[in-house]
């Protein structure tokens, strides 16, 4: 069982195998994500009932929470990939980690912007320096830092290593984001979704909410796979199979 997993993992760690095999994956993940997100948003924004206190303004939760979840999940993935890349010297792990950055940064930015838009009508302010909001801003800045490190290095391999180290150091921010609303007084409310108890949300709102989260996960995976294929083409451009692939593009097939 374990040996089968190792063999499978080794196959996927080859850039050429990844390039070829990820194409159907990103295609189907992308379509599934589009359909699920569309259904979740139509349901959530148009058909889910009005909230008893917040009225219609709560509906931004169907975008705000999925994007906030993904911004943290993608950061965790970057750190794990960085660790794998550093310890096992696996270049594909670095390629994937690098192309996770713009996806995660977009999610963090989306979460902050939708949070501000939600905050104005409910709290009465766009922004306050409470622990949750500030630690999410730090996450966005970490993403910018990772991207800057990749671009600052002359040799892409140095950028990979430097960014992996920064990603691992920044992991400490993830528990801070998660527990900020429990450790300290914050303007932000505590989490609605918990592993330990039933969420205090009516099923007519909860189902589209969970669908949106699943959809955002699938969309991010598809997006990362697509971006990684471009990264492979660029980084492996001197290898024979990439030259063939690029010639095939040039001939317009």
């Amino acid at each position: 069982m374990w040996q089968a997993f190792v063999r499978w993992f080794h196959k996927w760690s080859s850039p050429k195998w990844f390039y070829t095999m990820s194409q159907p994956w990103s295609f189907w993940l992308g379509w599934a994500a589009t359909l699920i997100i569309a259904a979740a948003l139509v349901w959530g924004l148009m058909f889910a009932p009005v909230e008893r206190l917040q009225g219609n303004s709560y509906r931004i939760i169907f975008i705000h929470v999925p994007s906030a979840f993904l911004s943290q999940a993608i950061y965790a993935a970057i750190a794990v990939l960085g660790l794998v890349g550093l310890v096992w010297k696996m270049k594909l792990a670095f390629f994937v980690a690098k192309q996770c950055i713009p996806v995660g940064a977009s999610m963090a930015l989306l979460a902050l912007v939708t949070g501000a838009i939600w905050g104005k009508p409910t709290w009465g302010t766009w922004w306050e320096w409470d622990a949750r909001l500030t630690s999410m801003l730090v996450l966005l800045l970490l993403y910018f830092g990772l991207w800057a490190l990749h671009n600052a290095m002359e040799r892409p391999e140095s950028g990979d290593r430097a960014a992996a180290i920064l990603a691992l150091v920044g992991v400490v921010n993830l528990p801070i984001i998660k527990f900020s609303v429990e450790w300290w007084n914050t303007l932000h409310q505590p989490a609605t979704l918990k592993f330990t108890e039933a969420p205090p949300m009516h099923p007519s709102m909860l189902i589209p909410f969970l669908m949106a989260i699943v959809g955002f996960y699938l969309a991010s995976m598809a997006w990362v796979l697509m971006r990684t294929r471009l990264e492979i083409l660029q980084r492996e451009r001197k290898s024979r199979w990439v030259e063939d692939e690029l010639n095939r593009f040039a001939e317009g097939q």
């Binding site: 917040q54 660790l83 409910t122 709290w123 009465g124 400490v172 007084n185 303007l187 009516h202 709102m205």
Partner: protein
């Protein structure tokens, strides 16, 4: 795992673990400074400075909101159910401000123990319920109060959502 990889793995884990412990220690050393607001208990213990801009947060005590005639002036009591603090405010309250719900008042604590607020923010909780269900629950509660019977045996399916 070969020794070289094992060494790299241990080095990285020790390094990041060390950074994580340092950051968390710093955060807990900051203590009160990490909090967005003082609770009424903090203020009662004298932790909040006088005549400086502070934030005071808690629940608006039921029945404590007093408005002054034709003006926007309003006074209410913020409680954490252990201590109370009175807040005075002259301005427009946010839509979600209501008795029994969370609030954060930004202003100065004066010598009488009153927070003179220049801004009031509403907190909301993590509960999301449709209007119709809340209305139905309230009607059911009123009906059971009126007849004096308890609601046992015909509890509504949403009773597990914190009502």
């Amino acid at each position: 795992m070969n020794p070289k990889r094992k060494q790299r793995l241990m080095l990285i884990l020790l390094g990041t673990g060390g950074v994580a412990v340092t950051v968390l220690l710093v955060l807990f050393a900051l203590g009160q400074n990490m909090n967005f607001f003082y609770s009424p208990s903090d203020i009662a213990r004298g932790e909040a400075p006088l005549d400086r801009q502070i934030r005071a947060g808690g629940m608006v005590r039921e029945g404590s909101v007093k408005r002054e005639g034709e003006t926007l002036k309003v006074q209410f009591v913020v409680t954490d159910f252990a201590a109370d603090v009175t807040v005075e405010y002259d301005g427009i309250l946010p839509d979600l401000f209501r008795e029994g719900d969370g609030v954060v008042a930004i202003g100065q604590l004066n010598g009488d123990g009153i927070v003179v607020a220049s801004e009031v923010l509403a907190k909301h909780d993590e509960t999301y319920m449709p209007v119709e269900i809340t209305d139905a629950l309230e009607r059911a509660e009123q009906a059971s109060n009126a007849t004096g019977s308890n609601a046992e045996g015909n509890s509504t399916p949403t009773s597990s959502y914190g009502y």
